[in-house]
Each structure stands twice: as C-alpha cells, then as structure tokens.
Symmetry: D2
Subunit: 109 residues, 4 copies
C-alpha cells in the first residue's frame, strides 16, 4: 500500500519534487545561456562580454545549487532525523549530514 | 534541573562546542596569516606571492565555514527537527533550514 | 594590405582566436552537462548526485573563464600597452586593465 | 643613478606601492575581523551569525585580491610588455601573464 513506505522510500521522493518544473525551466534557460556563449565565441565577440555572460551563468547555477541544498536539508536530512529518532539510531541522520556537508564544501570553494 | 531545558535552550549549546578549541586554534592561525600578508605588503613583497598567501587564507576560512555549517546542521537543525516532531509544528525546523540555506548561499557565491 | 591594420583592428582578432575550436568544444560539452543535470532532475535522481554534477559544471566553466582571461590579457591588454607606448597615451592600456579587473572581480566572488 | 634602473628593477617597485597604506589599513581591519570571529566562537555565539561574519571577511579579502591583481596587471604586466617590445623578446610578458593567470585561477575557484 501506498501509505506504507519506509522512511527510506519516502526520502526517495526527493525534496525538489515540488519545484521540479521550476528547476527544469531554470536549467533549460542555463542550457540556452551556454549555447549563447558558444555562439559569441563563434562570432568572435569581445572576451569581456563573454566573461560577463559566464558570470551570469555562474549566478544562475548558484541559484539552482542553493535550491537543491535547501530542498535536500528540508526533506532528506529532516526525514533522516525522524528515522534516527524513531529507530533510536543517530547514525542515519549523521550520514546524511556528512554527505550534505561534503556537497556544500565542493560548491563553496 | 539539567535535563529539563527546552529544545531552544538545548540548541543554544551550539554544535561547534565540541570542537571549540580546534576552531579557535584555526582562527588564531588565520589571524597570523592575515598579519603575515600585511607584513608582506609592508616589505614590498611580490604581488603574486601575496595573492598566493591570500588563496591560502581563503582555503583556511573555507574549512572553518564548512565545519560551522556541518555543526549547525548536525545540531541546531536536527534539534529543530526533533522539536517540530514533538510539538507537531513543522515551522520550527523550516525556519532553521531557511536560515541555514541563506548562510550557505552567502558563502557559495 | 594585411600587415597594415592598426592595433585596434589587431585587437579585434580576439586572443581566443587561436583556441577557438578548443573553446567551442568545451562549451559544447558544458551544454551537454547542463542538459544531463536537467535529465537527472526529470528522472528524480538523488539531490547530492545532482549537486556533484553542478560542481563539475562550475569547474568546467571556471576553466573556460581562466582561458578567456589569459587570452584577453595576453592579447587585448598587451596590444593596448603597445598602443599606449606608440601613441604616448597611458589611458589606452589603463582603460583595458580597468575593464579586465572588473570582469575578474565578477568571477572571483 | 636612480633613473637608470632596468625594467626589471622598476618592476620591483610593485604596483601596490601607491596604495600601500590603504592596503595595510584594509588588512589590519581584516585581522580584527578574524579576531572578532574567534571571540564569537569563544563566547558561544550563534553559528549563523559567525558564518555571516566570515562572509564579510571573504568579501573584504576579495577586495584586497582584486586590488592586487589590478595593480599587478597595471604595473608588472605592462612593464613586462614594454620590456618585451624594447628587447624584442615576447617571452618576458608571456611569462608574467602565465603567472598572473595562475594566481587569478587560484582565486576564481
């Protein structure tokens, strides 16, 4: 039955589910921005203008990352915290947090 | 009684407590690195060597940030998740996560 | 005659000309990586795996930026330095450098 | 005689010379900010407030880096461009640019 899934299964409906189409629209736009930069190179546009476009892509990717981190903490980590309480096993949430921190660390650099 | 503090009070023993002295040693070292850069400027050292030192400071600060984020999620956010469950009020953990994500976003830039 | 163009015209053959096809291949690959991330979202892949892919895109974009900066300094800024010497007008190179630094500053954040 | 130094010696009066005291004041302030963060840890301040302070330090260091890069391009790289022209040896400026780009690359990450 549908309501009977374990916390693990629940976690698999990732946090970004609710905003999935917004996220996909954003990524579609970023894909277009990257294609635009390739076209600027092909058209011999001025380097500084190309760099400005790349900064815009960085900023757009940054927003996607932050949304994913927010969703991940709000869903996967919080679900893991619940499981830890229910099962009396702190390692469940600790593992999730270590994983999230590693991902954040790669992005913060 | 000691065991009777509210979740809010518990959360005030921040996550970095356990590693407090390690964190303080790191910051002491970063302070010395910044002083070293000031001395390099005063001694007219080569700009590229100064920039290399600044990159090292950035990396050291990055480690401090990631440790604080890790501790914050592991303690404040997880405590808030517990409070949300106990009090049946999801807004407690949601507020903590919004705050953490905003801090991460400022660092990821 | 071909050898008679002014420094300004020479500068318009931007620095990345020589590596144009390498740059375009890199951007093509980044475009594919962004499309891959959109597909991961559509397929409900795990948030952390998506974040790892975004870190890879950031790193790839970073390489493109650094190549463009290198080419820009090596061509546009150096050409402007020559023009400044030839025309006895330091503002030519100063303007180019101010522009380059502003672009670098947006990327360093 | 003082006016007789070679381009190499001239380059050794690094670009940041003019702004040396401004740079030193900025670094003094950053040193104080780092000490402030150590005190916040010692006083058990809230992790998010500490992270906010670290973001401010990152931003201040970023300004110092950008100023150093600007000065470096404006002086060392431009001087090297002049030497390359005078001595008919493009490798002088090419080496300086490779070095500058490597430093920028470490900061952009």
């Amino acid at each position: 039955m549908d309501t009977n899934h374990t916390p693990r299964e629940a976690a698999e409906h990732h946090g970004y589910h609710a905003d999935k189409s917004a996220l996909e629209r954003r990524l579609k736009r970023i894909e277009g921005q990257v294609r635009g930069v390739a076209k600027m190179v092909d058209d011999d546009k001025y380097c500084i203008d190309i760099l400005t476009q790349i900064s815009a892509i960085n900023a757009a990717l940054h927003k996607v990352s932050v949304q994913l981190i927010d969703d991940h903490i709000g869903h996967c980590v919080v679900d893991a915290a619940k499981s830890s309480i229910e099962q009396g096993d702190p390692s469940i949430v600790q593992d999730k947090i270590a994983e999230a921190t590693a991902a954040i660390s790669r992005l913060v650099r």
